[in-house]
C-alpha cells in the first residue's frame, strides 16, 4: 500500500461507517415493522411502502413537491435578475453585493427564522405598521402561514441559485450582448435569446441546489407554517421523533432519496447528451 492510499484511509473508513452504513440501515429498517411501543421489530414487510403510497401521504408529498417547485421557480427568476445586475456592476460593488448575498445565508437558519417571526409577530414592525395605517388584520394569521414559509424558503435557498448564476455571468462574454444591441435586439430579447441559453448549465445546477433541500425542508415549515402546513420533511421527522414509527419514516425517506437520485440521473444524462451534441 502506498503512502497516498494510507492518507485516504481515515476518510474512507469514516464515510463507510457514518455515511454508507447508515443509509444501508435506513434501507433495511424501511422493510421492518414498528414495535408495539415504538422502535423496530425485525419482521419483514412492504406495508410501509404501501402506506406511503396512500392518498393522505401522496397528498403531503404533492404539496411539498409543489412548494419546492414554486420556491425553485421564484429563486430562478430572482436569481437571474440579481446575478445579472450584480455582474454588470462595478468590480467594487460586485464584491459588496456578493457579501450581502452570502452573509444572511451563512447566518444560522434558526436565527434567521427567529428574526422573521419577530418581524411579523405581535409586537413586530409589520403589525405595528399595519395598525398605524389602519389596515385590519388577523394578528395570528400573520405569524404563521404558507406565504411566510415561502418567504423563508426563498430567502434561505436564493444564494444557492445566485452563486452558480453569478459565476456563469462572470465568465459570460458580454460582447455578445453588445453585438445583439447593435443588431437592434431589445433587452428582453437579449435575455432570452443571448444570455439565458448560455447560462443553461448554471440554471440547472442552481435549480437542483434549491430544489433538493427544499423538498426535505423541516425547520422552515415547522416554525413559520404552523400546524396547518404538514410537509414531507415534517412527516418524516414526526415518524422518527414523535410517532416513533421508524420503519415508516425510513420508507418515506427511501422514497425521497430514490426520487432525488432519479432527478440527478436525468440531469446527468441530459448533461452528457448535451456534451455530445
Amino acid at each position: 500500500m502506498k503512502l497516498r492510499d494510507l492518507f485516504l484511509l481515515p476518510a474512507g473508513l469514516w464515510f463507510v461507517v457514518f455515511v454508507l452504513l447508515p443509509l444501508i440501515i435506513v434501507g433495511i429498517v424501511s422493510f421492518a415493522t414498528r414495535g408495539t411501543y415504538g422502535g423496530i421489530e425485525w419482521s419483514w414487510t412492504i406495508a410501509n411502502y404501501v402506506r406511503a403510497f396512500s392518498p393522505t401521504y401522496l397528498g403531503i408529498f404533492a404539496e411539498s413537491f409543489r412548494l419546492a417547485l414554486i420556491t425553485t421557480g421564484i429563486c430562478l427568476v430572482l436569481g437571474v435578475m440579481v446575478s445579472w445586475s450584480m455582474a454588470t456592476s462595478s468590480t467594487r460593488l460586485r464584491q459588496l453585493y456578493l457579501m450581502a448575498i452570502v452573509l444572511p445565508f451563512l447566518t444560522n437558519l434558526v436565527i434567521r427564522i427567529y428574526a422573521i417571526r419577530l418581524f411579523v409577530g405581535a409586537d413586530g414592525p409589520l403589525q405595528a405598521g399595519l395598525t398605524l395605517l389602519g389596515i385590519p388584520f388577523d394578528a395570528f394569521a400573520l405569524t404563521q402561514n404558507k406565504w411566510l414559509v415561502l418567504y423563508g424558503m426563498v430567502t434561505t435557498y436564493l444564494p444557492f441559485m445566485v452563486l452558480p448564476l453569478y459565476g456563469a455571468f462572470e465568465k459570460f462574454d458580454f460582447s455578445l450582448v453588445e453585438a445583439a444591441q447593435d443588431l437592434g435586439a431589445d433587452v428582453w430579447k437579449i435575455l432570452f435569446t443571448v444570455i439565458l441559453p448560455n447560462l443553461k448549465k448554471a440554471l440547472w445546477a442552481g435549480s437542483l441546489l434549491v430544489f433538493i433541500p427544499s423538498l426535505g425542508e423541516y425547520v422552515i415549515p415547522d416554525l413559520l407554517g404552523g400546524a396547518k402546513n404538514m410537509l414531507y420533511g415534517n412527516l418524516i421527522t414526526e415518524q422518527f421523533l414523535k410517532a416513533r414509527d421508524w420503519p415508516f419514516g425510513a420508507a418515506l425517506s427511501v422514497l425521497m432519496m430514490v426520487l432525488l437520485l432519479v432527478l440527478a440521473l436525468v440531469f446527468r444524462m441530459w448533461e452528457a447528451r448535451r456534451a455530445r451534441d
Binding site: L8, A11, W14, V82, S85, N108, A115, A264
Partner: protein, 279 residues
C-alpha cells in the same frame, strides 16, 4: 485586472430594482432583530440598553449550551480538518484504488438532504446502541464537514505548482519528506480555511444536532429553537444577535481563505470541478 476587463452593458433597471428589493428582504429581519436587542421598551417610551445582553451572559443554561456548541465545534472541526486534509492529499493526482469510493461517498454526504442524513445517523446510533450525547453530535458534524475540508484543500492542491514536488523528489526526498516539507506547508492557509469552515458549519447546525444530541445537552441553535417555540423576547434577540456576531467573526477567516466559494461549488459539484479563481 481592470485593464483586461471588457465593458459590460448594464442590466435593465428592473433587474437592479429586483436586486435591491431582494437585499432588503434578506436583511431587514436581522436588522430589526439586532435593534430589538438594543432597545428597552416601557409602555410610553423606549431607550437604548445593553441589559438583554447581560441577561444572556448571566443565563447559566444558555452559557452551558454555548459551551457545548464551542466544544463540539472545536472537536468536530479539528477531527474533520485532519481527516479531510489527509483525504485531499491522498486523492491528489492519484488514480484508481480507493479513489472513486472516497470521492463518491464525499459527494453523497454533500448532496443528500440534511434530514435523510440526520435520521440515518440516528438509526445507526440506535442499532449500534450508542448513547446519544455530545459524542454522537461530534460524529455527525465530522461526517458532514469532511467533504468541505476536502474541497477547500483539494482546490489549493489543484492549483499548486507540480514542479515543487518533482524538485523535492529529484533531490532525493522520500514521499513522506516531500509531503512534510513541501506539500503541507503550502497547504496551511487552505487547511485553516477548511477548519474555520467546518467550525462554522458545526456551530450553525441545527437539524442534524436536533436528531442526534442527548437529553439536556443542547447546543446553542437547539436551545434557541426550543426557546423560540415559546415565543420571542428581547433576551432571545440578544442571544441571536450574539450568535450572528460569532458567525461574522468566523466569516472573516472564511472570506479570507476564499473557502466560501468552495462551499457553494462543493454543493454544485456536478456542475464544474475546475473552477479558476476570479480576481
Amino acid at each position: 485586472m481592470p485593464a483586461i476587463e471588457r465593458s459590460r452593458p448594464q442590466a435593465p433597471r428592473l433587474a437592479k430594482i429586483v436586486l435591491w428589493v431582494t437585499l432588503l428582504l434578506l436583511h431587514t429581519p436581522i436588522l430589526v432583530m439586532i435593534l430589538g436587542a438594543l432597545i428597552e421598551k416601557t409602555p410610553d417610551s423606549w431607550s437604548w440598553t445593553l441589559r438583554w445582553f447581560s441577561e444572556v451572559v448571566n443565563d447559566q443554561a444558555l452559557m452551558d449550551a454555548l459551551q457545548n456548541s464551542v466544544l463540539v465545534g472545536v472537536t468536530a472541526s479539528l477531527l474533520s480538518t485532519v481527516i479531510g486534509t489527509s483525504a485531499a492529499v491522498g486523492l491528489h493526482r492519484s488514480a484508481g484504488g480507493w479513489r472513486w469510493a472516497v470521492e463518491g461517498l464525499s459527494v453523497v454526504s454533500l448532496v443528500f438532504p440534511e434530514i435523510v442524513f440526520a435520521l440515518s445517523l440516528l438509526s445507526l446510533f440506535f442499532i449500534l446502541q450508542f448513547e446519544l450525547g455530545l459524542t454522537t453530535v461530534v460524529i455527525a458534524h465530522v461526517s458532514f464537514s469532511i467533504s468541505y475540508v476536502m474541497m477547500t484543500v483539494g482546490a489549493r492542491l489543484a492549483t499548486m505548482d507540480r514542479s515543487l514536488e518533482d524538485a523535492a523528489r529529484d533531490l532525493g526526498a522520500t514521499e513522506w519528506q516531500t509531503y512534510r516539507s513541501v506539500v503541507f506547508p503550502l497547504l496551511v492557509p487552505s487547511i485553516i480555511g477548511g477548519g474555520a469552515l467546518s467550525f462554522l458549519l458545526s456551530f450553525d447546525d441545527f437539524l442534524i444536532t436536533y436528531f442526534v444530541n442527548g437529553v439536556g445537552q443542547d447546543t446553542l441553535p437547539v436551545k434557541l429553537y426550543t426557546a423560540m417555540k415559546l415565543g420571542v423576547s428581547p433576551k432571545l434577540n440578544a442571544l441571536s444577535s450574539l450568535m450572528f456576531v460569532m458567525t461574522l467573526l468566523a466569516l472573516i477567516f472564511f472570506f479570507r481563505s476564499s473557502a466560501f466559494r468552495v462551499f457553494f461549488e462543493a454543493r454544485g459539484k456536478h456542475e464544474s470541478k475546475s473552477e479558476k479563481e476570479n480576481p
